[in-house]
């Protein structure tokens, strides 16, 4: 990987090793599943075998009688509170009440002295169901007279949708996001070229290797809750738990250990409500650890179907695009509305349109709930629009790079009215991807090349805070709530503090993710941690720096501007005082400490979705692919990317995000699909049947470039890149196949689909 700028920073821009590397390499790092509390019970969940059914009777007598079983929880046990939650739409009971809406919905929870006893107890529970008519697919759910999953007119908005007024929708629609500008009817009627297609994107499992794991413990007076949870957004979980159980937010404490991956699967509230309710009834701490098949039905990526058409002039000028997309959010909305909005935003692609018209719907079906997964929205729709851009290019004799040079937005142009103007050099980026891919070099037979570029509305709501505490020994303890999910947030935050205070990274300790200790951070997702929490960390460190300088000014009797800070010392013309010396002077004894605070909030307006995003994340990729014409088998010869990151605070970790994102993008494009049968059963619910890319699926080569235009809103001009390479790679697989004349309208591109597409083409 290469970088295009030199940096004058001492720590920023350097490949500082991860601060958690040693603990992780020795097995010493503690994840939620490694913890035990005194008196802790083990929770297990009996899940619905039916996709839509009325619960007629639950008999738990035998289970309760089993020695070692402590508590059995059913829907009736939570009727003393309002048991419905959902950060977007409060549509979900924390345990099934009267009805189940997907295979895998929790019906009974058991807490026992050991996992084995809890497992045995589940086998002793008898539930009578009355099956109800099903709507397993989008088509079934959208059909006239389809069975309804919810009375949508009665549902209330959740605490954190951020999407303005959410009007109740008819039928099985949970959310509709639409926008239009320009006269697209007219442009389509008069265009030289119109390309149109229907597309299908599958449901996908995020597969964080650590399934959702948590422990809930109520206080002795049952008026406070402590939850240790593998969650990405502790403050949003805290608010939902407080709301559900009727407590002040300060009485709910969420502590976040290290996470074994997240990728969106641990965003928002997942297993916390049922675990908290079980612990409430048990009056003892309870741990629930999902298995992988349980994690699969806890959250997934939305499946989608879409219709897209694009109008252009015969010289390749893009004119207008229309998109209709339906997102399968499963039985409960989870983050569906946000996924729908982000998908709608990404649907036109970053081009200079005279008109666009986008309608996107979130649709309930009798399948497991869908929420966030890395690069949601962009991954869903980028491949559709980008294959149409290439098709138009082929018809007017322009290659993929020429089409994009001609039509891409340039910095400062509006992506959508009212939102943030484009803050990236996309034409420069696409040229670099082409270069990394060897665009102009000859291609062997059966080898195709494709690129793709898109934008993702990133950053979520811009609120983050951090505290930096300079201890008496001059070291800094940093309190910041971003979840260390593997991305390296704690390392980057340590670098920022070290840079601002002229000290060693080793002298910074990051305390993370405990809502009673670390200050508010909106969430860990949407590529926001370096950009927004990082900015809060930088401001906290600068406040500390100002305090140190103020003390130095008093000690030396000089203005604050007379000093230099480096190597943990404050310098004036060859004389220096260390941080501990200054702290001693300030407090008059060996104790005492300084405290800096950093806050990030919307600079103007409310920080709503419409006013955003915080930044446009660049989703770009290039793929060189080889197709076996007889079998349809694909070989990825090369994956190329550009990390348009504004400023790479830690280039090695930027590269790691790119490589990891590309590999997931290849999984999304080629291998991964959750398959439900007609009765709503997930039929590939294990890793035997659901293929996660392995070493043997690696591309033959990988080339990436970091672009540092310092055009991000984060510290030192940084902006996030955690997601873009996934969407870029997925779409580039499709455009590379189109380069070989193989038109793909449904993912994943299994050998069978490739073979069918080839034989359709040549027939």
């Amino acid at each position: 990987m290469t970088s295009n700028t030199e940096s004058s920073y001492t720590t920023i821009g350097h490949d500082v090793p991860r601060v958690d590397a040693r603990a992780k390499a020795t097995g010493a790092v503690i994840y939620a599943g490694d913890m035990k509390l005194p008196g802790m019970l083990y929770g297990r969940i009996l899940r619905s075998p039916y996709a839509h059914a009325r619960i007629k009777r639950i008999d738990t007598k035998l289970a309760k009688a089993l020695p070692g079983v402590h508590t059995v929880l059913i829907g009736e046990d939570v009727l003393d509170i309002n048991p419905y939650y959902g950060h977007a739409i409060k549509d979900r009971p924390l345990i099934a009440i009267d009805k189940v809406r997907f295979v895998g919905e929790p019906v009974v929870a058991v807490a026992a002295e050991s996992p084995a006893i809890a497992d045995e107890a589940l086998t002793l529970i008898d539930v009578d169901y009355e099956e109800l008519p099903l709507a397993v697919t989008l088509d079934a759910a959208l059909a006239d007279g389809a069975p309804r999953l919810h009375i949508t007119e009665l549902l209330k908005s959740g605490l954190f949708h951020g999407l303005g007024e959410m009007k109740p929708q008819p039928g099985n629609v949970c959310y509709h996001h639409a926008f239009a500008r320009g006269d697209s009817d007219d442009l389509f009627a008069s265009a030289d070229i119109v390309v149109e297609g229907d597309y299908i994107f599958p449901a996908i499992f995020q597969y964080a290797m650590e399934p959702h794991t948590l422990i809930a413990q109520w206080g002795a007076n049952m008026d406070e809750i402590h939850i240790w949870s593998s969650c990405q957004h502790p403050f949003l979980v805290r608010a939902e738990i407080a709301d559900l159980f009727g407590l002040p937010v300060g009485s709910v404490r969420i502590s976040v250990p290290y996470l074994g991956g997240g990728f969106g699967s641990k965003s928002y509230t997942k297993m916390e409500p049922i675990t908290t309710a079980l612990a409430r009834k048990a009056k003892r701490p309870v741990r629930i650890a999902n298995s992988v098949d349980e994690a699969m039905v806890t959250t997934r990526r939305h499946g989608m179907k879409a219709w897209v058409r694009t109008a252009a002039r015969s010289d390749g000028t893009l004119l207008a695009r229309e998109v209709r997309a339906w997102f399968d959010t499963g039985a409960y909305a989870d983050n569906g509305p946000r996924v729908v909005a982000t998908g709608a935003d990404a649907a036109p692609g970053p081009y200079r349109w005279q008109a666009v018209k986008v309608d996107a719907w979130g649709v309930y079906t009798n399948t497991s709930p869908a929420g966030s997964y890395r690069a949601f929205g962009a991954t869903h729709l980028q491949w559709c629009g980008e294959s149409q851009v290439d098709e138009i290019g082929r018809r007017c004799g322009l290659d993929a790079i020429q089409m994009r040079e001609k039509n891409l937005l340039t910095p400062g142009e509006y992506v959508r009215p009212g939102g943030k103007p484009l803050d990236a050099d996309l034409i420069g980026d696409i040229r670099l991807v082409a270069k990394n891919l060897g665009w102009d070099t000859p291609k062997p037979a059966n080898v195709g090349r494709g690129v793709s570029v898109g934008l993702l509305a990133a950053g979520a709501h811009p609120v983050s805070t951090a505290f930096a505490r300079m201890e008496a020994d001059g070291h800094v303890t940093l309190y910041v709530s971003s979840t260390e999910v593997g991305q390296g947030a704690r390392t980057v935050f340590s670098q920022i503090v070290a840079e601002e205070l002229g000290m060693s990274v080793d002298h910074v300790k990051v305390i993370g993710g405990d809502t009673q200790i670390t200050p508010y951070d909106r969430s860990t997702g949407a590529s926001r941690s370096t950009t927004l929490a990082g900015l809060a960390v930088q401001r906290a460190a600068r406040e500390l720096r100002a305090q140190v300088l103020e003390i130095a000014a008093r000690v030396f009797d000089l203005p604050e501007t007379a000093f230099d800070i480096r190597e943990g010392q404050v310098w004036h013309e060859g004389e220096s005082k260390s941080f501990p010396e200054l702290i001693r002077v300030h407090f008059g004894m060996v104790g005492g400490e300084l405290m800096g605070r950093g806050e990030v909030r919307p600079e103007k307006g409310s920080g709503s979705y419409a006013e955003g995003p915080v930044f446009w994340e660049v989703c770009i990729g290039g793929i060189e692919i080889e197709v076996d014409r007889e079998t349809g088998k694909l070989t990825i010869r090369k994956a190329a990317s550009v990390a348009d990151v504004g400023r790479a605070l830690n280039p090695r970790m930027v590269e790691a995000q790119e490589m990891g994102g590309i590999m997931q993008g290849l999984g999304n494009a080629i291998y991964e699909e959750m398959i439900y049968d007609d009765t709503g059963q997930l039929i590939n619910s294990t890793l035997f049947d659901y293929h996660i890319p392995t070493f043997e699926d690696l591309p033959d080569a990988f080339a990436s470039t970091i672009v540092e235009n310092e055009d991000g809103p984060g510290p030192y001009g940084a902006k996030g890149i955690g997601e873009g390479s996934l969407a870029g790679a997925t779409a580039a697989v499709v455009t590379a196949l189109a380069d070989l004349g193989i038109t793909i309208n449904e993912l994943p591109v299994t050998p069978e689909r490739v073979w069918r597409a080839m034989n359709r083409t040549t027939d």
Binding site: I30, E113, G486, I692
Partner: protein, 171 residues
């Protein structure tokens, strides 16, 4: 209380060495090696994920052979030598494989790391100088969802170099 509850079948005495130390514990016959190591011995470096011998996060070495401990009955390790990630470092000094994983940025969330390093140890014991293809094949039973694998391959190559140096300048 747990012991007086469910009739959980036979109990048996398990004797093995773990990271060189003798262990003698009474277990339920049906217990998996992973649970014995994590819950009874408190060695939590090995993890559980797929529970099906696909993902590799539970990998332990039994007499030097990598096994998926989530699906290995603990009594199968009776009389054998078990190695976990906690046994790699000696007296605070990291094993060359651990140092290589750190230096090459071969870990992110860390959940797969202990299994990945133990699988690497077994691979290099059998094949001290593997090619890239041999590394890919040798570690295909260990999934990493974060890194995209490239840095792990580099770490394995680096481990091979360091072990060769340690063993007297290469074979």
């Amino acid at each position: 209380m747990a012991n007086e509850t469910v009739a959980t079948g036979q109990r048996t005495q398990l004797k093995m060495t773990v990271n060189g130390k003798p262990v003698d514990v009474e277990i339920e016959s049906r217990e998996m090696l992973l649970d014995v190591v994590r819950d009874r011995l408190g060695l939590t470096g090995a993890k559980r994920s797929c529970d099906l011998q696909v993902c590799g996060v539970c990998t332990l070495l039994v007499d030097g052979i990598p096994v998926s401990s989530c699906c290995t009955l603990a009594y199968e390790a009776d009389g054998k030598s078990v190695e976990t990630v906690e046994g790699l470092a000696r007296f605070g000094d990291l094993h060359p494989i651990q140092q290589s994983f750190i230096d090459k940025g071969a870990l992110q969330c860390g959940f797969c790391t202990s299994g990945m390093m133990l699988a690497t140890k077994a691979l290099l014991a059998e094949n001290p100088h593997p090619t890239v293809d041999e590394i890919k094949h040798g570690l295909a039973g260990n999934i990493c969802r974060c890194t995209g694998y490239w840095n792990i391959i580099e770490a394995v190559e680096e481990s091979a170099r360091r072990l060769a140096t340690e063993n007297g300048g290469g074979e």
